[in-house]
């Protein structure tokens, strides 16, 4: 009897324990299922790059809403944890440390721009995390990190590919231009772009007759443009940030710059507000871009995305059209999302292996990464402004105001040459 009673007690106890364990694991499982996937990042929401940073954030939020409407990733909702890096590289390491050690995010992506991406690299590398990055120029040249994936279509040799189109187009002109002036802002991105331009100039046989940098905060570019004019270059390659780009374009028109090609790596000439204000001053400038309205670039989902972006951007004081950065900010989240779904988890090694191996369909077209995490094949567009009307934002929504000249695969028109007729 005692034995029987003991047996019953033991059975009851083990049953309770088993039930508790099962319930516990069920509770734990359901908690796990309900727990959102946290993606952490820093973003320039104030300071000099805030215009681009806020626009990028809008695009990322659109992706988050889209993915959550579809049920999230791995059946879990996606949540963002982000902090303003105030366009100050010194704040970035602290932010990523907090994201990983305090906020315990599951995944990280980068802030916008070379200067903000580089400082995050040592933190991310130490934790061996996959790091999708947004518009860093040749950042991985220094780190050689095999879990870095850069969404800007600069190509496998970003420094060179950035300006290759400009010089290749110039070399095809008859008679072939002979000399080039290179002017760059004194900052990481512009110096890297200028370094690549110098190599390309040599490769394509152009003599460099002017090679200078300017400090941030330069208010008047007239003396610089006059000095360039005095060197009589056939080509003028500029690597600049928005205030410098606007100042140089205005000074070039005021001075009457006599160059056969002008432009190259000017950041800001892709922003709708600046385009609208500069108007006809932009005519014939050949400059890089990542997307313009053109039949050759009509990727699935891009127009729907831009429609959503324009709606979301209203009244937020950011680029109203968002053709430059936002589609890529959406795309780098798409890439990460696809990889998570395909690998059925958050294992960083599996994610990295998958991202290296596969091609991703995104709103900016097919994305395939090379060994160094840059696009396996460059798609640095060289576009030319044509017949720009003053004070007309709508013209930039339509095909024709910016013509794609390079690469040939994406070409939508012929170049008007020379710049100053």
């Amino acid at each position: 009897m005692m034995k029987r009673r003991s047996f019953m007690r033991a059975s009851l106890a083990s049953g309770v324990i088993a039930l508790a364990a099962a319930t516990g694991s069920l509770v734990s499982f359901s908690a796990q299922a309900a727990k959102p996937i946290k993606i952490g990042f820093s973003m320039a929401l104030s300071g000099g790059l805030a215009g681009a940073g806020k626009a990028a954030l809008i695009a990322m939020e659109i992706w988050k809403d889209d993915i959550n409407k579809k049920g999230g990733l791995l059946g879990r909702q996606v949540e963002f944890v982000y902090y303003d890096d105030a366009t100050s590289p010194s704040t970035v390491p602290g932010i990523y440390t907090k994201l990983l050690d305090v906020d315990k995010v599951d995944l990280v992506v980068s802030s916008y721009g070379t200067n903000e991406i580089s400082p995050a690299m040592p933190i991310v590398m130490r934790k061996k995390l996959v790091f999708p990055s947004l518009f860093g120029l040749a950042v991985n040249d220094q780190f050689h990190y095999n879990r870095y994936f850069q969404i800007m279509p600069a190509g496998p040799e970003p420094k060179l590919d950035w300006s290759k189109g400009f010089f290749e187009l110039a070399s095809e002109q008859h008679p072939k231009p002979e000399s080039v002036a290179i002017i760059a802002a004194d900052s990481d991105f512009a110096l890297a772009a200028a370094a690549g331009a110098k190599e390309n100039a040599k490769k394509f046989g152009f003599k460099i007759v002017y090679d200078k940098t300017y400090p941030p905060g330069t208010p008047d570019f007239t003396p610089i443009v006059r000095a360039i004019q005095a060197a009589q270059p056939d080509l003028v390659f500029v690597a600049s940030y928005p205030p410098g780009s606007v100042g140089i374009v205005k000074a070039a028109r005021e001075v009457g710059l006599k160059a056969k090609m002008f432009g190259g790596g000017m950041v800001g000439l892709q922003f709708a507000g600046i385009q609208k204000n500069l108007g006809p001053m932009l005519d014939n400038i050949v400059n890089y871009h990542f997307w313009v309205p053109a039949k050759t670039l009509n990727f699935p989902g891009i127009n729907e995305f831009l429609k959503k972006y324009e709606e979301a951007a209203k009244g937020k004081g950011v680029d109203p059209l968002g053709q430059y950065l936002p589609p890529y900010a959406y795309a780098y989240m798409q890439v990460l999302g696809h990889a998570v779904e395909a690998t059925h988890g958050l294992d960083q090694a599996k994610l990295a292996a998958y991202m290296h191996k596969h091609t991703f369909n995104t709103v900016v077209g097919k994305v395939k990464f090379g060994k160094n995490g840059e696009w396996a094949q460059t798609r640095m567009l060289m576009t030319q402004f044509r017949n720009v009307k003053p004070n007309d934002l709508d013209q930039f929504r339509k095909e024709g105001t910016q013509v794609v000249l390079y690469p040939r695969q994406w070409k939508s028109g012929k170049m008007v040459y020379p710049f100053s007729k």
């Binding site: 007239t222 204000n277 950011v318």
Partner: protein, 291 residues
């Protein structure tokens, strides 16, 4: 590469740039130079002036300079109110040196964040018929984008210089800068005079802001680029001297322009600040400062 044409263009561009610097620095010459108030938020007020000019230019088509002049009285009142707070909280209790500096840092951040929240972070530019056009005098080209700010700065500096040297209130401002106690003994209220002078200093930022946005695009934090420059101009000119400030602005503008043209733009700030250090080594009170 040295040619007479290039040199004359560099000199003219430097003078025009110097005029613009003078417009930005004149308010600080009053607040910092004469009233001894370290208004680190001065460039942030200039940016606020730029945004007012942008708003009325983009919505109503007003000329930016006209907006700057029309908004100046409003900025004057803001300056008066700000001085009242500064006086009550810090100056009266003798805590103006460090706490006052922190106060103006705070004001700077409030202005930047305020602009960001109201107008966003995109670059803002203005349209005016003269932007992008030039006038040529022989080999020298003068862009209206620089000529308009220079002319406005010249009128503003001349006007303030005349006001300070010829009117009772102007002389009282100069007197309060030298000896507030003596002024009080003469029956004048130094606080009211300083309040008026600080209002005047902030009023100039409305016009300076409108000139800045004519020259190039602005975003909420771009004022920080000018903090070092404007303080350097005031110190180089000699604390409290309006004419000294104007000449210092010209020197800085010309040095930057000539160095940019002939040696390269990245050398320009180094040489300009080298001139400042050299001047201060030879004349510690600045070019026209009181010894």
């Amino acid at each position: 590469m040295l040619s007479v044409d290039l040199l004359s263009n560099a000199l003219v561009a430097g003078v025009l740039l110097g005029g613009f610097y003078a417009a930005v620095a004149i308010g600080l010459a009053i607040s910092f130079g004469q009233l001894d108030i370290v208004n680190i938020a001065h460039p942030a007020f200039v940016i606020l002036g730029s945004y007012v000019a942008w708003k009325l230019n983009s919505t109503l088509g007003f000329d930016p300079v006209l907006v700057g002049v029309l908004a100046a009285p409003l900025f004057f009142l803001i300056g008066v109110a700000m001085y009242r707070i500064y006086y009550a909280a810090f100056e009266r209790t003798g805590q103006e040196s460090l706490s006052g500096l922190a106060f103006f840092f705070g004001i700077m951040f409030i202005i930047e964040v305020g602009i960001m929240l109201v107008y966003g972070v995109d670059y803002r530019l203005v349209s005016a018929g003269y932007i992008g056009k030039s006038v040529h005098l022989g080999p020298v080209g003068i862009p209206f984008r620089m000529l308009v700010p220079f002319t406005t700065a010249l009128v503003m500096t001349g006007g303030i210089w005349l006001y300070l040297s010829r009117t009772f209130m102007g002389r009282a401002i100069l007197a309060v800068a030298q000896d507030p106690l003596a002024l009080q003994l003469m029956g004048a209220d130094p606080v009211r005079i300083k309040q008026f002078a600080f209002g005047l200093a902030i009023a100039t930022t409305s016009i300076a802001g409108s000139l800045l946005i004519i020259i190039g695009p602005v975003e909420p934090s771009i004022g920080r680029d000018y903090i070092g420059r404007v303080f350097a101009i005031v110190v180089l000119g000699g604390m409290g001297s309006i004419s000294g400030m104007f000449i210092a602005a010209m020197i800085l503008g010309v040095v930057e322009s000539v160095v940019s043209t002939f040696a390269g733009p990245s050398w320009a700030p180094a040489v300009a600040f080298g001139v400042l250090l050299l001047t201060l080594a030879l004349r510690p009170s600045g070019l026209f400062g009181r010894r």
